[in-house]
């Protein structure tokens, strides 16, 4: 009995040693974040949202659905708007009826409100995106200019990316049976047009731009405002920067 245990231990140690040695040829590379370092040339897109400017009209969410054929039902959004209402007693109420497409109504008596504001949400276009990392077949990938995209002809529809996105920005397309998400209107971007949500925003609460261009609108915006990203502790490399991001927002 003792000798068989010893043999087992020896065999196990040998197997573990082989694994360690073989991984030394490319140490830990396979386990590291999905994203390769960004290419040094070309644009590197980022987004800035000014919460203080959003009026909660919901045109962005509506425009996105029309432009991108997002299913109409209130369970599928590439972008949506949330209304945060902080009550006098410190309680926080968050609402997003139909993603804000139909606008918002006060659901709390005015005298009980400490403060209220709207928060537009969309894909954070993370540079170390968890969704890209977990996709088993590489159907979700990052474009050279920093936009996370899904190849719908390649996606197997496992839903792992939807689970991995900390921001709830992905959904499973009920007709295409694949994962779907904001593409920053990549088809428009390539033609020099603004993403639909930004084009229709009446207050210019959302802007996008090349983070490498020091004179771009977005870089100037970031220079002039105190910005923050959502869930910074998750280290997703989010490229969606918020101005006026209150502590209640998640």
């Amino acid at each position: 009995m003792k000798s068989s245990r010893r043999k087992f231990m020896k065999a196990s140690i040998a197997a573990a040693g082989t694994l360690v040695l073989s991984s030394a040829t490319r140490p830990f590379d396979v386990l590291l974040m999905a994203s390769d370092p960004p290419p040094e040339e070309g644009p590197w897109w980022g987004i800035a949202i000014d919460i203080t400017k959003c009026i909660g009209c919901g045109l962005c969410a509506r425009g996105c659905k029309v432009e991108n054929d997002v299913p109409e039902e209130p369970f599928y959004f590439r972008t949506w708007v949330e209304q945060y209402t902080v009550l006098n007693n410190g309680e926080v109420k968050i609402e997003s009826p139909n993603g804000g497409i139909d606008g918002f109504k006060h659901s709390v008596p005015e005298e009980e409100i400490f403060k209220t504001f709207f928060v537009p949400k969309m894909c954070n276009q993370c540079s170390k995106s968890p969704c890209t990392q977990v996709c088993p077949v590489g159907a979700t990938f990052e474009s050279p200019d920093g936009v996370a995209l899904v190849d719908e002809k390649y996606c197997i529809g496992c839903g792992y990316c939807v689970q991995a996105c900390p921001y709830g920005c992905r959904y499973f397309h009920p007709e295409k049976k694949v994962a779907d998400k904001c593409t920053l209107c990549y088809h428009r971007l390539k033609k020099g047009l603004d993403p639909a949500c930004m084009e229709v925003c009446p207050t210019k609460a959302r802007i996008y731009g090349n983070l490498r261009d020091r004179d771009s609108e977005i870089v100037n915006f970031l220079r002039e405002h105190d910005y923050q990203v959502l869930k910074p502790h998750l280290n997703t490399g989010s490229k969606l920067y918020y101005n006026g991001l209150s502590a209640e927002i998640s």
Partner: protein
């Protein structure tokens, strides 16, 4: 599609607090609960078999082949739950052709095939090769042909050849033990590595999955051994059954300790997600977690088998206790998988509210389908036990 939309509206009406709109629908349903459940049974059954083979616990002999064949039966079915859940099942092969190196899920196909072909099939084949040759000689008609095919044309059953089979089988079992850990540990890693989800994201997840797998696999073989003996009308080898129960007891203690450690750590640290998880376990998961998983699935079995370890209990009573606790453990581990998979999707990743899950009866993700996937391994097992009856194997003299 319309039914589905209606179902989602119903779920929307039951949302508590605020969840991101894309979170109302759960991505992973009962099929994804079944997958870790089935692979856990495979890994656990294999580990029990290896106790006999590698660690020379000879008293477990009567269940050695049963455990291996059970593992194979469940392993054959396991991937179908995954593939049938996919939005695009016909593209499933892409995971083998173009796996994404950074995805925990991408190695599924390779680990699965390795385990199926290089470990289980090979070990069973080596164990049965001599019998295939003998049976091919003894049988007539089609069965003779079947066993000839199964023997892959080998004929040598000299003591030297049989010894070589035994030696190779031993080596494969040694390789099989870490492989079984890998098979199930990686399933745990699929959940444990999702940093977006604090209910899943724990470094202990793969370890907990491995130990819970051993618990469920041992319980399954314990119940199956009793059932098969009953059907065959043969006497149960009580020394074997008592030993299986003893190992089940040890594994239950280890599993319970690990899961408790995970929860105690979570409670003590009380991070950002604590409040929502606290509400989750006391609300939507309280019955499946506290009653099925912990109380009836762990504590009752631990106490009942524990009593048998300390006091003398009559054989008949022991059998009843083993049968009942075995079933309770199997139900408990099913709900452990349920609580991980479903529980992890019930709360919003924004930590401000809960969505709902209602299991439908029909459809590819419904209860009937799940029951079918659960029955299928037993049908395969019955067939394999007929084809490869362990009790008809001839002792090597």
């Amino acid at each position: 599609m319309e039914d589905h939309t209606q179902h989602l509206y119903e779920m929307l009406s039951k949302v508590e607090g605020y969840v991101y709109p894309n979170e109302i629908e759960l991505q992973w349903g009962i099929l994804i609960v079944l997958y870790p459940y089935l692979t856990g049974l495979v890994a656990g059954a294999f580990i029990l078999a290896s106790l006999e083979r590698v660690f020379k616990i000879k008293v477990l002999g009567p269940t050695y082949q049963l455990a291996l064949i059970t593992a194979l039966s469940f392993l054959i079915v396991a991937p179908f739950t995954l593939i049938s859940h996919l939005g695009q099942p016909l593209r499933a092969y892409e995971i083998m052709i173009t796996p994404n190196g950074t995805s925990a899920m991408a190695i599924f196909g390779f680990i699965y095939l390795w385990y199926l072909l290089a470990v289980l099939n090979l070990e069973i084949w080596l164990d049965y090769r001599r019998d295939f040759v003998i049976w091919a000689k003894e049988k007539k008609g089609i069965m003779r042909g079947v066993y000839k095919v199964l023997s892959l044309g080998t004929k040598d059953i000299s003591p030297k050849a049989v010894k070589l089979d035994d030696r190779l089988g031993y080596i494969i079992t040694v390789i099989g033990i870490p492989s079984a850990f890998l098979l199930h540990g990686y399933v745990g890693f699929i959940f444990g590595s999702i940093k977006a989800n604090p209910w899943w994201s724990t470094v202990l997840m793969p370890v907990i999955f491995i130990f819970s797998a051993m618990v469920s696999g041992i319980a399954l073989i314990m119940v199956l051994y009793m059932a098969v003996s009953f059907i065959r009308k043969v006497k149960i080898d009580m020394a074997c059954l008592d030993t299986i129960a003893k190992y089940l007891f040890y594994m239950l203690i280890l599993d319970f300790t690990l899961e408790s450690l995970d929860q105690v750590h979570r409670i003590y640290e009380a991070e950002e997600s604590f409040d929502i998880l606290h509400m989750l376990v006391n609300g939507r998961l309280n019955i499946t977690l506290f009653i099925f998983q912990i109380f009836s699935g762990m504590i009752i079995p631990m106490i009942s088998i524990g009593i048998i370890q300390v006091f003398k209990v009559r054989e008949q009573v022991r059998k009843i206790i083993y049968l009942v606790t075995g079933i309770l453990v199997l139900v408990g581990i099913f709900f452990m998988r349920w609580n991980v998979v479903i529980g992890g999707q019930l709360f919003s990743k924004g930590f401000h509210g809960f969505t709902n899950f209602k299991l439908g009866l029909v459809g590819s993700e419904g209860l009937f389908m799940a029951i079918m996937w659960m029955i299928l391994p037993f049908v395969i097992l019955a067939f394999l036990l007929w084809l490869l009856p362990p009790w008809k194997k001839q002792e090597v003299t």
